[in-house]
């Protein structure tokens, strides 16, 4: 844990320990390759996972015993059969508990994990054994989840997601929080293709991050109160009251109870998953943290977002709030509030927040006027900013939405907007389209329009261009497949820190000047004690990058030897990308053309 982050940094060395600065020689560390040995999750994790069972046993036993105390015919021994002593009863209960605990312990003992340079492996099971292995560079997202009880113990669960869209590929429950974060940093660094210092492979620094958006709790509450739940509550209340008045039966009022339970549950989940939401950017991708009782910290590496949707329920228009949800291959679709929270990149935010988040997900908007184009997509209608809408002749098919239904194409993404009351703007980067289809029914044909559907990985966003003019739809269909092919050829490597073959990295000179630093040598290169500080944070070769002096906290250590070419950028605080309005009169262009 060297690359500590101010928000949740906990002091103290991680499991690997930290080499002292004087330990620059470090020959005896070479053969030890931590991270390749087998480990187990924390020993009390069975308790944290199985606490409900334990509580249930204690509750039932305890209640019987407690009620027995007040039974008039009893002598305080509870409802025990004659001849069975209290000690025996307690012994039986204890035995059951111990048996369960033993089973948990055995299963804990047989569950081991290992992170190698290329894979993460988990072996589990006693009778039916399972050995699972996932490639690190296939990572789609890494979550660190802390359920409430685990938080009390300082434990955390690590979830490693691949593009399976179902269960997490690897779930490690539970690790110490520091270990979990160290493991996440290790996995992300290896998945990114960061070359580690060959002498200290265990020294992996968590990539620094910069906070981009933080949501105040008041806004989360406001958003919940203004959400569709409130509309549903009002409609349901009106219906119940109307029915009660018409049929003059007050009994109908009892149906308020389930409605209220549902509404309160919905408010609660919105609050608990949106509470304390923070989004940050780092070289390892987008980081999100949130949660009231259970906390969750998600990392989505660059290029893993498959589609983005910016939506606005009708009442949020009063405050100008939006929600941003994304399709990430590892997250899949889930109806649960947990699953929905996972795929929301911004539970509620202002237009500026949305643009900030979009700039993270789509660093290159592919248009010189990103703010105007996206604003027109979020709130606008008609043809402003290059949107193509439903032709006028088909307005009968969508009397309200025909001026809003539309799409716009930038160099990097396709923007699809729809919805008048529930506004939505879906954004698909060109290289992320899995396939696309064009649909036309008999009525569409009569009006000369067609629908276009874009298939992406499973998730809450399903982009669909509705009722486009047939010729336009075909142009888009063909143009889009060409653009997608083009974008795929250009798209970066899966290992996002791997040097792209082609333009030489600025640090080539540096690497050449210190050939001993190459991994092949393993030489235990003596490094002057001052050297690490000289390298601190900056790109080797003096690239104009942010200096760590910008950081709120100072001491962050680089690997003692400057790693070749590419470990540099990862340790540099990323500049949060930002889209600037193109024209000086940008504010007037927002949504009113």
């Amino acid at each position: 844990m060297t690359g500590s982050v101010p928000a949740e940094a906990a002091p103290g060395p991680g499991r690997h320990g930290q080499p002292e600065p004087s330990d620059a020689g470090g020959e005896n560390r070479i053969e030890v390759r931590p991270g390749e040995d087998w480990r187990r999750v924390h020993v009390i994790s069975p308790l944290v996972r199985g606490w409900i069972a334990l509580v249930a046993i204690l509750y039932f036993v305890g209640r019987d015993w407690f009620e027995g105390l007040f039974d008039p015919g009893s002598d305080g021994r509870g409802p025990l059969p004659e001849g069975v002593g209290l000690l025996v009863a307690v012994g039986v209960v204890l035995g059951v508990v111990l048996l369960i605990a033993g089973a948990f312990l055995v299963s804990w003992y047989f569950t081991r994990y290992q992170v190698t340079a290329e894979h993460v492996r988990v072996h589990s099971g006693v009778l039916f054994r399972q050995q699972r292995q996932a490639r690190l560079d296939r990572v789609q997202a890494i979550d660190i989840v802390q359920p409430f009880l685990a938080r009390i113990f300082g434990l955390a669960e690590l979830k490693f997601e691949v593009a399976d869209a179902g269960e997490s590929a690897v779930r490690l429950a539970f690790l110490k929080l520091d270990d979990a974060r160290q493991l996440r940093a290790t996995i992300l660094a290896r998945a990114a293709g960061v070359e580690t210092d060959p002498e200290h492979p265990e020294e992996i620094i968590e990539a620094p991050e910069r906070e981009v958006v933080a949501i105040p709790p008041g806004r989360v509450i406001g958003a919940a109160l203004l959400s569709g739940t409130t509309i549903a509550l009002v409609v349901a209340s009106a219906a119940i009251i109307t029915l009660g008045v018409v049929f003059e039966t007050p009994i109908i009022a009892t149906s308020f109870i389930p409605v209220l339970i549902g509404v309160v549950g919905s408010y609660w989940s919105a609050l608990s998953t949106g509470y304390n939401f923070r989004a940050a950017t780092s070289p390892d991708g987008i980081r999100m943290r949130y949660g009231l009782l259970d906390t969750r910290s998600q990392t989505v590496p660059p290029g893993r977002v498959q589609a983005i949707s910016i939506s606005q329920p009708p009442l949020w228009r009063l405050k100008g709030w939006y929600r941003v949800t994304v399709n990430v291959a590892g997250y899949g679709v889930s109806a649960s509030s947990d699953g929905q929270a996972r795929s929301s990149l911004l539970p509620v935010g202002s237009r500026e927040d949305v643009l900030q988040i979009l700039a993270l997900v789509l660093p290159d908007p592919g248009t010189p006027r990103p703010v105007e184009v996206f604003a027109a997509g979020m709130t606008g209608r008609d043809g402003a900013e290059g949107y193509v809408t439903t032709p006028r002749r088909a307005r009968l098919l969508a009397p309200l939405a025909w001026r809003r239904n539309g799409f716009a194409v930038t160099e990097t993404a396709l923007l699809v907007r729809s919805g008048v009351l529930w506004r939505q703007l879906a954004v698909v980067p060109h290289e992320r389209t899995q396939s696309l289809s064009i649909h036309q029914g008999p009525v569409d044909r009569r009006f000369g329009v067609a629908d276009l559907q874009f298939q992406t990985t499973p998730g809450p966003v399903s982009p669909r261009v509705l009722l486009a003019e047939t010729g336009t739809a075909w142009d888009l269909f063909h143009g889009q497949s060409v653009r997608a092919a083009e974008a795929r050829r250009r798209s970066g490597p899966e290992q996002w820190m791997k040097p792209v073959p082609g333009p030489a990295a600025p640090s080539d000179a540096q690497a050449a000047s210190e050939p001993e630093a190459l991994p092949a040598s393993h030489g235990g290169l003596p490094v002057p004690p001052g050297e690490p500080d000289a390298q601190l944070g900056g790109l080797p070769g003096g690239a104009p990058a942010a200096v760590p002096g910008d950081l709120p906290e100072a001491p962050r250590r680089e690997p003692a030897v400057p790693a070749p070419t590419d470990s540099g950028p990862r340790t540099v605080m990323p500049e949060a990308p930002r889209w600037e309005p193109a024209a000086p009169e940008g504010e007037e262009g927002y949504g009113h053309r």
């Binding site: 789609q140 593009a163 869209a165 290029g303 893993r304 498959q306 291959a329 290289e431 992320r432 389209t433 899995q434 396939s435 696309l436 289809s437 064009i438 649909h439 036309q440 029914g441 008999p442 044909r445 067609a450 559907q453 298939q455 992406t456 990985t457 499973p458 399903s462 047939t470 075909w474 269909f477 063909h478 497949s481 060409v482 997608a484 092919a485 795929r488 798209s491 899966e494």
Partner: protein
Amino acid sequence: MRREPIDPSGLEWSRVSPKYLRVRLLGWLIGSVVWLLITSVPLVLRLTGVWSSFPPAWIAWGLPAVVLVIVVWRGLLLPRQVGAIGYAERDDDLLVREGVFFQRTMVVPYGRMQYVDVAVGPLERVFGICTLKLHTASPATNASIPGLPTEEGTRLREQLSARGEARLAGL
């Protein structure tokens, strides 16, 4: 192959084997007979006098009649439906089209294919045809080409796999 207004221009569609129409017709025949038999039960019971009053005469006669109309309509539509299925291999992607009234054309880039299925049912095996299905990372990609002659299916599968490998992209 008949050109539809939804078709893109400058594309040569390959159509599926005419044997596929026979398979579909056989399936249609079996399904139709079963449905007709099931829906005729009240009528038969009424005519034989087992049930004399319960199903009114218009239901007893109407039910099989409606089913008959639907079945005949579907049977008449079948040749056109099968004729509407087409596929085209382009340099970078595969196009699949289908539908007479509700038309659909789908394009799947080779680099997006995760795997290719070739399935053969018992009826299809008798006629020597197969169904090829493309899978991408999106379950909504529903690109299947039924009624390919077996050797054409095998060729297409190999071709698609090879091209997919050559243009393989991440997710």
